[in-house]
């Protein structure tokens, strides 16, 4: 990676830095060369590696599923088709269990969030140095391969879900109904400011907790992989193997929880209470 001595602190920091393309303080646009420059870019910066990997994995997901759908056959389904059908059955069962409204968009939304998050999280199982070394050979000096360890990615998804919650709440309950629900629950109209405060916190906690839960789990997992990578090679296997196996569970569990909460929030947005 770098010539000369690389301290463990510097190695960790190097692996935690995104590939940032942004506006330098003097006004020109370019890739940041180190963490300090990236921080100085402030808001006008794009994490190119997050965008790239999330986009590529999204395209991969669409491509695989479209291929399977086009070549689907009822008499002699291929192994891959069976696998995808079992996934779709699983999602269908979950949506039926939690969603009581009538909206054909919810099940595809659940499928997309689940598979996309699983694909993004699974990038964490690729050994820490492989893809960054490949990128360094091509001249790219920073690369974080797991998009969900970037809070930008998880917040992007949860803000999208939040906008959907708002849209469907207003659509199903009417604007008056939605505002009424925010101001008149759980106490009557004489405690209106208090109601608004409680319900406002409740409403905002949904996207924030959704994003941070996924981010925290993935960031902690990646952090431990980086720390294990610092150990001598003859100890690494004893630690990285159990952690990687545990991490497979976490990857699937966090994607499943994200999907379940999306379905539950959509259900709450569609309910007409009184």
């Amino acid at each position: 990676m770098a010539s000369g001595e690389l301290t463990s602190g510097a190695y960790i920091k190097h692996h935690l830095q995104n590939l940032t393309y942004g506006k330098f303080p003097d006004g020109h646009w370019g890739f940041a060369n180190d963490a300090l420059e990236a921080k100085e870019m402030g808001f006008m910066a794009f994490h190119v590696d997050t965008l790239f990997f999330s986009f590529v994995l999204g395209v991969l997901f669409l491509f695989l599923f479209t291929m399977a759908a086009k070549r689907a056959s009822i008499e002699a389904p291929s192994g891959f088709q069976n696998f995808l059908e079992s996934i779709i059955d699983f999602i269908d069962e979950n949506v039926r269990g939690s969603f009581s409204g009538k909206n054909p968009m919810v099940a595809p939304l659940a499928l997309t969030t689940f598979i996309w998050i699983v694909l993004m999280n699974t990038m964490d199982l690729v050994p820490v140095d492989w893809l960054p070394s490949l990128a360094a050979a091509m001249g790219i000096h920073f690369l974080k391969v797991v998009p969900t360890t970037d809070p930008n990615a998880t917040f992007g998804m949860s803000i999208g879900i939040f906008l959907l919650i708002l849209y469907y709440s207003v659509k199903e309950k009417g604007l008056g109904g939605f505002v009424g629900e925010l101001t008149l629950h759980p106490f009557g109209k004489w405690m209106l400011p208090f109601n608004l405060f409680l319900e406002g916190v409740n409403l905002l906690a949904k996207p924030v907790s959704l994003a941070l839960r996924l981010f925290g789990n993935m960031y902690a997992g990646e952090m431990i992989f980086i720390l294990i990578a610092l150990l001598p090679f003859w100890i690494q296997w004893s630690l990285s193997l159990p952690w990687a196996i545990f991490h497979i569970l976490i990857v699937l569990l966090q994607a499943f929880i994200f999907m379940t909460l999306v379905i539950v929030y959509m259900d709450m947005a569609h309910q007409k209470e009184h």
């Binding site: 602190g9 920091k13 935690l16 907790s209 941070l212 839960r213 789990n217 952090m223 966090q254 499943f256």
Partner: protein, 80 residues
């Protein structure tokens, strides 16, 4: 050498992670105890209860995991 600011940051990260671990441990301990109790009452429901336990564990772990994530960030990316 470690400056005073760095030392404070280390302690902050350690407290953050410690309290998060405490909360997670107590929560999951109670959850596991209820699971075993339910499994003892109705052993034929064990697969379903186990699934539900993992789901609720993911939710109970949420805020402690956020604390761990932020604590790791403070310990390694900020305090060096």
């Amino acid at each position: 050498m470690i400056t005073e600011v760095q030392a404070t940051l280390f302690v902050a990260g350690a407290i953050l992670m410690g309290l998060g671990a405490l909360g997670a441990a107590v929560g999951i301990g109670i959850l596991g105890a209820r699971f075993i109790e339910g499994a003892a009452r109705q052993p034929e429901l064990i697969p379903m209860l186990r699934t539900q336990m993992f789901i609720v564990m993911g939710l109970v772990d949420a805020v402690p995991m956020i604390a761990v994530g932020i604590s790791m960030y403070i310990l390694f990316a900020v305090a060096g």
